[in-house]
């Protein structure tokens, strides 16, 4: 008796709980980057409309520095990743589409600090994902350093809370 009804398709059940490979994680990351890019574009469009409404006679399209856009994009992506990883689902939208979940070494969702550090690490050094190919445990460089895992998990139910630190 399983104790609950398993909503996962039968052919996908053997992979649940195992660390994901490079293709799935790359696709998920690409979706997340696309979302952040769209979000940046929406922000730019918002600014553009604001300036149009605020100074309609002297309106000129705002020009943004590539460095500024890059920094803003990185910050937004970091914030987006961290918030989603420490949220109830432990997954970004890209993770959700690809059936992935980010967990700590105990199999629980990340705490705020760990989620923020991992998000920054991923944004600053995305090439660390390629270590999945050579790791015997399908871990990226970020996973090795921070002892996290990205697993196949098609279950939509939220993960358990991260353990609270014991205060002396």
């Amino acid at each position: 008796m399983s104790g609950h009804i398993d909503p996962i398709p039968r052919e996908a059940r053997p992979f649940q709980g195992h660390r994901a490979g490079l293709v799935t994680r790359t696709l998920a990351a690409a979706i997340d980057v696309a979302i952040v890019t769209v979000a940046l574009g929406v922000c730019y469009l918002g600014i553009w409309l604001f300036l149009l409404l605020y100074r309609p006679r002297n309106f000129s399209a705002p020009t943004l520095s590539p460095w500024l856009v890059s920094i803003a994009g990185c910050l937004l992506l970091t914030l987006y990743l961290a918030v989603n990883w420490m949220g109830g689902g432990g997954r970004t939208y890209g993770n959700h589409v690809m059936g992935l979940r980010v967990v700590n070494r105990e199999g629980r969702r990340l705490g705020p600090f760990l989620a923020l550090v991992r998000a920054a690490f991923c944004v600053i050094f995305p090439i660390g994902l390629l270590w999945v190919l050579f790791s015997g445990q399908n871990r990226s460089l970020q996973d090795l350093v921070l002892r996290t895992s990205v697993i196949y998990d098609w279950d939509v139910r939220p993960l358990q809370e991260p353990p609270k630190p014991i205060r002396q």
Binding site: Q16, G17, G21, L22, V103, E106, I151, Y152
Partner: protein, 299 residues
């Protein structure tokens, strides 16, 4: 006891004077007999001399005359005895019959005879030993006796209930070896002879079902567990996906499965290139145990 009764009866019926006379007579007679014997002993030599005088020829002795008289008297006595026997044979039976008829022998025996003492002296065991039972039984016509027996009348008089009440059914049941009896029963042969269809026709299913407490049965069932097992067995999520016809979910599932297959293909390729000997350990800690994903054997 008989002597005592006689003495008691005589004391009541004969006066004491008669007894005194009889006593005196008996004493006189005894005295006379003694005197006679004494006289005879003293006179015996004289008598022998008279009967056998030495001066006479033996043929002329008086003893011869006496012997001749004795022979004649013996013959006469024998003749008289025969006559007396004939007279007794003729007279005594009717007299005895008359006497017996006048007597109540049954009451006489009951009063005068100690039957218990008499029976106690009888050796019954010795009598039985002398009997040849087999010979007696062989002479009995048992078939004839049985033909005369009215069995129905006997059975009608038997109180079956009283007999049954005295039977210790429990003691009998304890002595019965049920296992031995059952082991000799051919259950298969009995089962083959049972007409199950006829039995089933006689059963009133509706009456039985109406007495069944369905609610109690349902309460004892693990309906949740059964439902989960059934749902997992029929792959309900797949049925829901097919019935809803969600193109998006189908696309997502296909993309996920294909990406997983691509992951595995690339992992196999890389493992072959870097000549990894051991299989990847992808099971994440803390997660529920899941079966290992299919891996190709490493070269």
């Amino acid at each position: 006891m008989t002597e005592h009764h006689r003495g008691t009866s005589s004391a009541r019926t004969v006066p004491a004077a008669v007894d005194a006379v009889l006593g005196a007579a008996a004493m006189a007679t005894s005295t006379a007999v003694s005197l006679t014997r004494l006289f005879a002993r003293a006179a015996a030599p004289v008598g022998r001399l008279i009967m056998h005088p030495p001066i006479l020829n033996e043929r002329l002795h008086p003893a011869r005359v006496v012997e001749a008289f004795a022979d004649r008297g013996h013959v006469a006595r024998a003749s008289a005895s025969d006559d007396l026997n004939r007279i007794i044979a003729a007279v005594v039976p009717p007299v005895v019959d008359e006497v017996l008829d006048s007597l109540d022998l049954t009451s006489l025996v009951r009063e005068r005879v100690d039957i218990d003492a008499l029976v106690s002296t009888v050796d019954v065991a010795a009598i039985i030993d002398r009997l040849d039972i087999d010979e007696i039984v062989s002479k009995v016509d048992i078939d004839g006796i049985l033909r005369q027996v009215d069995v129905d009348a006997i059975v009608a008089k038997v109180d079956i209930d009283a007999i049954v009440r005295q039977v210790d059914i429990d003691a009998i049941a304890r002595q019965i070896d049920i296992d031995a009896i059952v082991s000799q029963v051919d259950i298969d042969a009995i089962a083959k002879r049972i007409d199950v269809d006829a039995i089933a026709d006689r059963i009133e299913i509706d009456a039985i079902v109406s007495r069944v407490d369905v609610d109690a049965i349902v309460r004892r069932l693990d309906l949740v567990g059964i439902a989960e097992e059934v749902v997992n067995g029929i792959d309900l999520p797949e049925i829901i996906r097919q019935s809803t016809g969600s193109m998006a979910s189908d696309v997502v599932r296909d993309v996920r499965m294909e990406s997983i297959e691509a992951d595995m293909a690339i992992e196999r390729l890389i493992d072959r290139v870097i000549r990894r000997r051991r299989a990847r350990h992808t099971d994440a800690p803390g997660e529920p145990a899941q079966p290992e994903p299919p891996q190709e054997p490493q070269p």
